[in-house]
């Protein structure tokens, strides 16, 4: 689209060549005195507004005058400055160009801004020419020249992706931005300045910001966006961050110099947002925030004192009281003396995406990513063209599988204002094989074909498991609310706690590779359910969808204890079993009348006698642990079934593994 714009621009450049700067004077307009008076009056009005920084009003007045005489350099330049201050630079460029053609020496900054114009349209050589010619007091000149040089490189190494407008179900003729998605990419919250019931105008002449939601169906169609009443007020409300399961949201309000608020979903509705203390700071502006996969850290942006520059990225860690405290600046590798905004924490637990106008980029804000590994942040990597452009590229978010991103842009061809765009990443250039052939020997009889493979790097998919599902009652199949605890079995440490949606029973967890996880689901009146996910560092991205059926606490109900582990061929409990054992202990203490049977089961490898003995000893090991913890002996029965009760065929390793298990059954 920018190519079209530049074509129009070049056309305009030709059209205005050889034109003269025409002053608003009677000599120049002897037959239009009344209209001249009106135009001059408009200019004066515009000047007043301009002086008071009311640029929208100023530009409207100036444009009236420009209709009368469009060949006045000063007026065109003023119009450009208005648009520049309104951050609608693209609107302003034709006027700058016109002013430059009429009088290139009108203002000291004209060459500088011409550099900006060519920079914006990615004519980097020409931009550098103008920047070099500019005698300006703008400090950014050197930075912009570097951006142009970097831009040239980026154009050479384009990122392969499709960028599509997400469509009219989400975008409107107004500003639509700040897309935030759940880790599975099925739900999107975004901010819009569209018209609607009881939505008033803000001071800048646009409607107030409000938060909307849309759901994506299996055919990749987004539903018609709905306003989220409970998150909006009469003024600005913008979504800033969303937990990966979509049950917690961080919003922004202009109250108190710009603060962040948090809301949790209950009964399928977000609760009234509460200030995100102590992240909010009275003297500073807090924007943009993102939860890590386990919700233990919130990254946010703030212009508080003692940062690296203007807005910096900070992190706040969840303390024992459930507050985000221990605020730390991410440091000079991430933050620059310029602006860092729009931070997004990837569900892989180590990558953040953010926008900055301080790192090596093409101009304006570019989007970067950096990873936190071995205690330090990597150097931010520019996402590249065409995602990044010389304009401001912000509000980036990406699905857990790294295949789809979303961002907002005011590029031409949209529905109006800023629109939300979907980026489908295609990965590195696909492999192609060229063929060259030569007659290596002079007799020309022995041709030699040479293949030239364009080697490519495999798509770097994130290393995480996205576990999503629904919790239901085993008998009624109705959705259930459940508390979901995530454990690191190796460290016997609870990493995080989540909840399933209390209406739909849905849950979503992100499990970065590199840990042996236990996922434990429990709710009142039911037996807990545990799952084991042993994910080595190398485990690739996968999505697992499960229906978890919780069983009521009733005699005869039994569960498999998926996180009880023994030494090979022995009845010695491994330390990875402790979290599960503690859950059994907790269940028995909370339900003191329960009597249970702990049973051991094996696969069919080996004799029945050996397997019966081993399974019994294993069941006893569990019982012994519980007795040692204080559970009464008579409440616990241990049984060894050997391979009598398989739950899977013993013909495969997978089946045998399932059969090697410990079970828990309520007997009284």
């Amino acid at each position: 689209m920018k190519k079209l714009s530049i074509a129009l621009y070049l056309f305009s450049l030709l059209s205005f060549a050889n034109t003269q700067n025409i002053a608003f004077s009677k000599i120049n307009f002897p037959d239009s005195k009344k209209a001249l008076r009106s135009a001059v009056s408009n200019i004066k009005t515009g000047d007043k507004y301009f002086k008071n920084q009311l640029y929208r009003e100023a530009v409207n007045a100036y444009l009236e005058a420009q209709h009368f005489n469009d060949r006045n350099a000063d007026l065109n330049y003023q119009i450009f400055l208005c648009y520049l201050n309104l951050t609608e630079i693209e609107e302003g460029f034709p006027f700058l160009n016109k002013a430059f053609q009429l009088d290139s020496s009108l203002h000291l900054d004209m060459h500088f801004y011409m550099g900006r114009l060519y920079h914006y349209y990615m004519h980097f050589d020409t931009a550098i020419y103008y920047y070099n010619k500019a005698q300006t007091k703008h400090d950014e000149k050197t930075k912009y020249i570097e951006e142009c040089r970097f831009g040239e490189k980026m154009l050479e190494q384009q990122i392969r992706c499709f960028i599509d407008n997400i469509g009219a179900n989400i975008n409107s003729p107004y500003e639509d931005y700040n897309p935030t998605i759940t880790a599975d990419g099925h739900t999107m919250y975004f901010t819009s300045r569209r018209d609607g019931k009881k939505i008033d105008y803000a001071l800048d002449g646009k409607f107030f910001e409000n938060i909307y939601v849309s759901e994506r169906d299996s055919n990749d169609i987004w539903s018609k966006a709905m306003i989220v009443d409970e998150l909006n007020s009469k003024t600005h409300n913008a979504v800033q961050g969303l937990s990966h399961d979509g049950l917690k949201i961080i919003t922004y309000s202009i109250d108190n110099n710009g603060d962040l608020f948090e809301s949790t979903m209950k009964n399928n509705k977000f609760q009234r947002p509460k200030p995100l203390t102590p992240i909010n700071n009275d003297d500073s502006h807090e924007i943009s925030a993102s939860y890590t996969y386990d919700g233990k850290i919130v990254y946010f942006c703030s212009d508080r004192k003692n940062g690296q520059g203007k807005h910096d990225i900070y992190k706040a860690t969840l303390d024992r009281k459930g507050k985000y405290s221990h605020i730390e600046n991410l440091g000079p590798v991430i933050n620059t003396v310029y602006e860092e905004k729009c931070v997004f924490a990837h569900p892989d637990g180590k990558t953040i995406y953010f926008s900055s106008n301080g790192h090596e980029g093409m101009g304006g804000y570019d989007i970067y990513y950096a990873t936190f590994e071995n205690g330090q942040w990597s150097k931010p990597v520019n996402l590249g063209y065409p995602i990044n452009t010389p304009g401001d590229d912000m509000n980036f978010t990406i699905t857990a599988d790294n295949k789809t991103g979303y961002y907002a842009s005011n590029k031409k061809g949209g529905l109006g204002g800023k629109d939300i765009y979907k980026i489908t990443f295609l990965g590195p250039e696909k492999q192609f094989v060229y063929y060259t052939e030569d007659n290596l020997l002079s007799d020309g009889l022995k041709p030699f074909i040479e293949n030239k493979e364009i080697k490519t790097i495999a798509i770097d998919s994130p290393k995480l498991t996205l576990l999503k599902g629904i919790v239901i009652d085993e008998e009624t199949k109705k959705p259930l609310y459940a508390k979901i605890d995530l454990y690191d079995l190796e460290k016997n440490e609870r990493l995080a706690s989540f909840e399933s949606n209390d209406q739909s029973g849905r849950f979503l967890l992100s499990l970065p590779s590199g840990k042996n996880y236990s996922v434990n689901l429990k709710t009142e009146g039911y037996l807990f359910h545990s799952e084991n996910f042993n994910l080595p560092d190398t485990a690739k991205y996968q999505e697992i969808e499960q229906i978890i059926e919780l069983k009521k606490l009733a005699v005869g109900k039994e569960i498999v204890l998926n996180n009880i582990f023994f030494e090979f061929n022995k009845a010695t409990l491994l330390k990875e079993s402790i979290a599960e054992l503690e859950n059994i202990y907790l269940l028995l203490t909370e339900n003191p009348k329960l009597h249970v049977e702990i049973s051991g089961h094996t696969d069919n490898v080996g004799s029945a006698a050996v397997n019966n003995k081993l399974s019994l000893e294993r069941a006893k090991a569990v019982v012994d642990y519980l007795i040692e913890k204080g559970i009464a002996n008579e409440r616990l029965t241990s049984v060894g079934y050997g391979f009598e009760k398989p739950i899977a065929p013993n013909t495969t390793e997978e089946g045998r593994q399932k059969n090697r298990r410990t079970e828990f059954k309520i007997i009284k």
Partner: protein, 349 residues
């Protein structure tokens, strides 16, 4: 006299082949009966009456069993008639009764080489060199054998011997350059191609040097050399194809497409150019044209997985994800590793 004539004959045979009959030396003397019979044999040979020529030459040998020219012409005709064992036998007969054996050994080696019996060819070339260490053609033929066996170091040794004995022999420089190229010694290859070009402006030499520049990513120089090759031989389709590749590397996709198309006009079944043109269309974002070329290739060579890979890559850009996955699956079945990765990463199981 005979020795001189024989040398001229061998030279002609080595470098121009027997098809050019004007290179045959007719013995003028009529004093000797064997010579008369030989001359009759030559006449019959020139009039393509090979049976009669053989008869005269055999009679000539019967008259004078040391008459070397008769043996050589007879063996040549037998070779042309593809009675290779007869030709070899004739040359063996010559060896039995003559002192100068080098040429006979060389000719025997040449017959074996042409029949892809490289061991025997080498054995006779060694005998030739034993007889005459300055027999440069033997070294040259040995270099060809080593090259064919991918014994490039040995090929270089023999080519260096050839060049030592025959410093103006441009072919040897070209071939030595190619051997260096195969060993990855691109700088040495460039030097030898340059020497060959200095001696003779030959389209093969230019194209070969262009390919070294292409390898070294000196695309402008590569294009210049390929163009030079084409100015010497406008129908040299290999140079056209190679220049197309060099142009693709400089992102001159339109120029590349033009070269590949011209190449295909000269040789319409030259599939490397068709494949390259498909890639050039892809690079130029002319995806439908690329698909057309890959379709043709798949139709003609369905066993080549690379064509499926290329078509799948193109379908991806046409947003035909399902079609892309189907093609990558086929490519993966045919052993293309990259396609397996794409299938795993981008296609639903």
């Amino acid at each position: 006299m005979k020795n001189l004539m024989l040398a001229l004959f061998i030279f002609a045979m080595s470098h121009h082949g027997f098809a050019q009959t004007d290179s045959i030396i007719v013995i003028e003397s009529t004093e000797h009966k064997a010579e008369q019979l030989y001359n009759s044999g030559v006449k019959s040979f020139e009039s393509a009456n090979y049976i009669e020529a053989i008869k005269y030459l055999q009679l000539s040998i019967l008259e004078d069993i040391h008459f070397s020219d008769a043996y050589f012409l007879l063996s040549h005709i037998q070779k042309e008639n593809t009675t290779y064992m007869d030709a070899i036998q004739t040359l063996h007969d010559y060896v039995l009764v003559n002192d100068r054996k080098d040429t006979a050994y060389y000719l025997i080696a040449e017959i074996y080489y042409q029949n892809e019996i490289k061991d025997s060819a080498t054995q006779y070339l060694n005998l030739c060199i034993q007889q005459n260490p300055n027999f440069f053609s033997a070294y040259y033929l040995k270099s060809q054998i080593h090259f064919a066996l991918k014994e490039y170091e040995e090929a270089i040794y023999n080519l260096s011997r050839t060049i030592h004995l025959q410093p103006a022999f441009s072919h040897a420089y070209n071939d030595r350059a190619s051997a260096h190229r195969m060993l990855g010694n691109n700088e040495k290859a460039l030097e030898d191609y340059a020497r060959a070009i200095l001696m003779e402006k030959n389209s093969i030499y230019y194209s070969n040097r262009g390919s070294i520049y292409l390898k070294l990513e000196k695309f402008t120089e590569a294009i210049q050399d390929y163009s030079q090759a084409l100015s010497l031989n406008p129908n040299y389709y290999l140079a056209l194809n190679n220049r197309g590749v060099a142009k693709m590397e400089t992102k001159d996709y339109a120029g590349a497409i033009k070269d590949f198309s011209l190449c295909l006009e000269i040789k319409n079944d030259y599939y490397p150019a068709l494949s390259n043109r498909g890639i050039a269309y892809y690079k130029a974002k002319q995806y439908q044209e690329a698909i057309n070329d890959f379709n043709t290739l798949i139709e003609r060579i369905p066993s080549d997985g690379i064509n499926y890979l290329h078509r799948g890559n193109t379908k991806e850009m046409l947003r035909d994800a399902e079609g892309a996955c189907q093609d990558w699956e086929k490519a993966a079945e045919l052993g293309v590793e990259a396609a397996k990765n794409y299938l795993n990463n981008q296609c639903k199981p």
